[in-house]
């Protein structure tokens, strides 16, 4: 089975002009943790997830400081969060995105997801235009189907 058979063709995406706060509202409404950002020509610009928002809001040095516990919320976090409304999503999106193509096999897409720790892969054509998206659950469902089992709807 190939990716083109299981991918979602109607891709929900983020407008590059949107601010981060509006995008977060959009994510919460649709209950999706991340979406691709696509330009007017349909080309992939990057991906934005809730994790990117958290990593922007928290100080970048927390990983270097080692083990500690925040007993209070630092003032800077409140301030940085309120800046999200003035921050373009393109400023903090991840630009290096792992993609796949329509002709990729299920196992190859699964392998990419495992090795690159990706939850979903945008599917692009030869010109780099986004033609679909495939998530881990799509792969698992398709694998179940090939094993003649069912994971429900």
């Amino acid at each position: 089975m190939k990716i083109k058979e299981i991918m979602t063709r109607d891709v929900r995406s983020i407008d590059p002009k949107d601010n981060v706060f509006d995008v977060l509202v959009q994510l919460f409404k649709t209950k999706i943790s991340g979406l691709p950002i696509i330009d007017k020509q349909g080309k992939l610009m990057g991906v934005f997830t809730e994790r990117d928002a958290l990593s922007y809001v928290l100080p970048s040095y927390i990983q270097k400081v080692g083990k500690f516990i925040y007993e209070e919320n630092p003032k800077s976090i409140k301030k940085k969060f309120s800046e999200l409304i003035n921050t373009k999503v393109t400023e903090i999106m991840r630009k290096e995105v792992i993609t796949t193509t329509e002709e990729t096999t299920l196992c190859e897409a699964a392998r990419i997801m495992m090795t690159e720790r990706a939850r979903r892969l945008p599917v692009v054509d030869l010109e780099g235009k986004v033609v679909g998206i495939v998530a881990r659950c799509d792969i698992l469902k398709a694998l179940a189907k090939e094993a003649e089992m069912s994971l429900g709807r």
């Binding site: 100080p59 970048s60 040095y61 270097k64 400081v65 080692g66 083990k67 500690f68 516990i69 925040y70 007993e71 209070e72 630092p74 003032k75 800077s76 301030k79």
Partner: protein, 460 residues
Amino acid sequence: MWKKLPILIALSIGFGILARNTGLSSHQALSISIFSASILGTLFFWDFRLSFAFIGVSILLISKAIDLENVVRFASLEVILFLVGMMILVGLLKDSGFFAWLIGLILRIKNLNSDKFFIAISFISALLACVVDEVTSIVFVVAAVLEICDYFEVDPTPFLITSILATNIGSSGTVLGNPIGILIAAKSGLTFEDFLVKAFPLMILSLLVAIFVLKFWYRKALADLDKKIKEFGYNEMLVKLVSVPPERDLKVSLAIFAATLFFIAIHRRLELFWGLQPNTVLLTMPLISSGLVMIWKRTKARKYVEKDVEWWTLLFFMLLFAQAGTLKFTGATDVLAKNLLGLANNSVSMLMSIVLWVSAIGSSVLDNVVLVAAFIPIIQSFHDLNINLQPLWWALLFGGCFGGNITMVGSTANIVALGILEKERGVRLSFFRWFWVGLTVGLITTSIVWLALVFLPFFG
């Protein structure tokens, strides 16, 4: 990249031709040419420095400028292993919450005022840089400074610059503060006690003068902070902002680190007592401690070795040392040393001044390890010319550390701290905002060292 590459090639070939025309042999000229390509490589293509080092050493081997045995000898494995051991120990300290605990200490300063804050961050920056390396220590001081400045809503830049300048000054205080410290100790025969007795007090004196200058330089920022402290009142929220779990790990880690420091501090006495080769205890203590740590924290041993040890940098150091060693091996540094001595009119004071100011100005644009690695074989060559080397080693140490303050790219600590400032607060410092204060502090502190080395026989 393609614009700078021809400049690099032309310059390094030019240095080689110049060396050949001034009477050096073809191997000596080649070693100078390759070594200058490596130095220029770190200046023009920082991200590719390891590639330059790999290729450079290979060319030196293939052209028979050096042999395999001497590449290994000059690569200074003893220095590299010492740094590996210390990096593992710092990894443990990080994991145990030691640095967060230190940040907490700064946040908990009682009856905070701008003077107390300013002096505290300067001393903590300098002293922390003395016991762990400067790049590690600056991250934690930056974290504390940013939290406090955020709380009182003041511009963190002056305080951050102060901490960075103090960190670079402090890194000259002991063998552990900077990779050039251990490199000089390993090659010069100077002991940790020599550093404590001679370098440390001179570092403290330079720090005090720097604090005085900086307090005047940033008087407006200090007045603003005082005003805000009065407005916001007690730093209650900061006091309980962070805590460290679990305490037992922190205590054991601190005990291991303190014991390591203690044995390192008395290494020469132990070596004499046990009849060991010089520096055996100095270089093996971090290995013994990190070996014990890897037994204690066996599930994390691989993480400490793979993540906390900066292999990229250490590999670069090894190959850089091997390339600098080729200068000695081919005899190029003997010729350079003779010429330099002639230039200095056979005066040790003059020679020391040249080493101090060239290394200070050089390390304001180059990585100080590169510069010191280049100078070491030259200074070793002075030994054969019956010159008292000690003032030269101190000049190299202080020049290499204090010169890093002159420009914003002068030391790795500067780059790391300013990178955090830009990422966290969107503040991108202009070259001159740093340069004037950095140059002032750099010149004043280097002059203090120069006066001490010229007029105090203690350093001779």
